[in-house]
Amino acid sequence: MSAMKNEDEAQAGQEADGIAEYLRHWPGLYMRQGDKIVEALPEDVVVAKTYPTAKVKGRAVGGIRLTILTKKTCYRVNEEVRVIHVMEVIEPGHKMFVMGPKQVYGEYVDGKLVTPEAHPQQVYDGLVLDSPNVDYNYDITTYSFDTPGRHEIYWQVGEVRSNKLELDVVES
């Protein structure tokens, strides 16, 4: 069992501290501002940079892992919730299309699809990377909740579903 785990880690390029080499490189985080692409807000960058060491990530399916992150898990009513999206491919042999920020498809809030479900047919121009690697270059989605209680968010692309964020929303 232990040997198998070590083999998996080696396959993912992990170092002794459990962080894969490709996760040590920070490519930046971007957002759209009108028709411009600008650097993401510093507080969003802070959240995204927690990904390599995050304890909760999505389950890898076919070597692909989707993870969503928020700054905290408890929000006030109508407070903005900003969701960071990360795709990690832990196996070699995949191409990663890292241009963006890419629109998010297949995001669910409280069980309801709140974005288009699937990618439309699109041209692609730019860098492709070989896996294993990580891609933070997705739009940051924002939500607010006008009712207190527990709310859930997850992101699903095909068979791959992200971790489920469970957010507690309380009265102001």
Partner: protein, 403 residues
């Protein structure tokens, strides 16, 4: 060109001396010849010199004024090549004859008529200020390959010419010494004409060459300085040693087939140091901005790649459209440029030199139901997402691909 110059300490001393002469002249010279000058005329310079040595107050009153020493072109140093060492020249050890205080006294004596009648005349103009050499350095030490938005820096491994202007340096003065202040300790190192220091006897263009690159977090701690006899004459602003990416080029990697049509392109670039391994603290990002698409390409928006390490070119760019999108004629043009950041200097979002490309897609349908697409990437001076660059090199095209 803005420059930093510093007046040497000797200049300030000279001003003090001038003030002393002027005060004395106002009080005494116009009414009567100073007793010391009288002595000089009657008993000779040798005796006067002994008096000078015994009377320090009088010595201050006749402080030597360099500006009165005639300077002939033949005395001006003309050598511009750096010397082997900063050692004194043999003649540097000699006292110039004109520095004998009595020589000045002789001048004063000889210009005074023997039986001059004291009269009220305007005080003479103050003599010119005695000055030592001056050196002028460029304020900004920058490799020619530095984009405008880049902090001051020079690349390693290659020469950066720096023009140094020196004035007022005459025999038997020492040379002006150039050195790199702050070198080492992670700040980076550089040579001047291949050595740690260079001695200049006249204006010259020296070659700075970065050796050790500046560590991250230690940017701008190097200065080119010019010293003369322990006096700082000039200093540049701070600069760093770092390599940056430039000169993008493209070659065909492969045609894209299957569910897409287009081209995969090898994206290559150079380091301005000549060695891409020097780019280990630089990262590059590509920017793509689309024009208005027509037909099947309507509604496409721009993208970028985020930053990726710059020390492992080439990377592959994928330029492809899904077959399912190519439902009819249409076209779209995308502009592509590259930007970089350099952790050594702290520079971010710097447009890379000669990294512009234009991507063109055209779908035609010469016969109903039979479509072809041509995808082309060509070096072009352009701008994407606000970052402009001159043309990269190379052109890659798919030719007509059946959809």
């Amino acid at each position: 060109m803005r420059t930093f110059t510093a007046k040497p300490e000797a200049t300030r001393q000279a001003k003090l001396s001038r003030t002393t002469i002027s005060d004395w002249g106002h009080g005494e010279r116009n009414r009567a010849v100073h007793p010391m000058l009288h002595l000089g005329r009657t008993i000779g310079n040798q005796s006067v010199q002994r008096l000078v040595q015994s009377d320090t107050d009088a010595l201050r009153a006749v402080s030597h004024n360099f500006s009165r020493i005639p300077l002939h072109p033949s005395q001006t140093r003309t050598h511009a090549t750096p010397k082997e060492s900063a050692a004194l020249h043999p003649r540097d050890m000699e006292e110039p004859a004109t520095e004998d205080p009595t020589a000045l006294i002789d001048q004063e004596v000889n210009t005074a008529p023997p039986n001059a009648i004291p009269q009220q005349v305007p005080p003479p103009l103050a003599p010119p200020v005695a000055t030592g050499p001056t050196a002028t350095l460029p304020t900004h030490i920058r490799g020619a390959s530095s984009p405008a938005a880049m902090p001051d820096r020079i690349p390693p491994r290659v020469d950066t010419p720096v023009a140094v202007t020196i004035t007022g340096l005459t025999i038997p003065m020492r040379d002006v010494t150039l050195s790199i202040e702050g070198a080492g300790g992670g700040n980076g190192t550089a040579t001047i004409n291949g050595a740690a220091t260079a001695n200049l006897g006249a204006s010259a263009t020296v070659q700075l060459r970065g050796v050790n690159q500046t560590d991250v977090g230690k940017a701008g701690n190097l200065r080119l300085v010019a010293d003369h006899g322990g006096t700082r004459l000039a200093a540049s602003a701070g600069f760093s040693v770092s390599a940056i990416p430039q000169n993008w080029s493209v070659t065909l990697n492969s045609l894209v087939t299957g569910p897409e049509r287009g081209i995969d392109v090898n994206n290559n670039w150079e380091s301005d140091s000549g060695n891409v391994a020097d780019l280990d603290q630089a990262q590059r990002s590509e920017q793509v901005q689309y024009g208005t698409g027509t037909g099947c390409f309507a509604g496409v928006t721009g993208n970028n790649s985020g930053y990726r390490p710059a020390n492992s070119p080439p990377l592959v760019d994928h330029h492809a459209a899904p077959v399912g999108l190519l439902t009819g004629p249409g076209s779209i043009v995308a502009e592509q440029t590259f930007i970089f950041k350099d952790d050594r200097t702290g520079a971010v979002n710097i447009p890379a030199t000669r990294s512009g490309f234009r991507l063109t897609r055209v779908v035609i349908e010469p016969i109903a139901g039979s479509r072809f697409i041509t995808t082309t990437k060509a070096g072009t001076a352009t701008s994407a997402n606000g970052f402009a660059s001159a043309a990269g090199s190379g052109t890659v095209t798919s030719g007509l691909q059946a959809v």
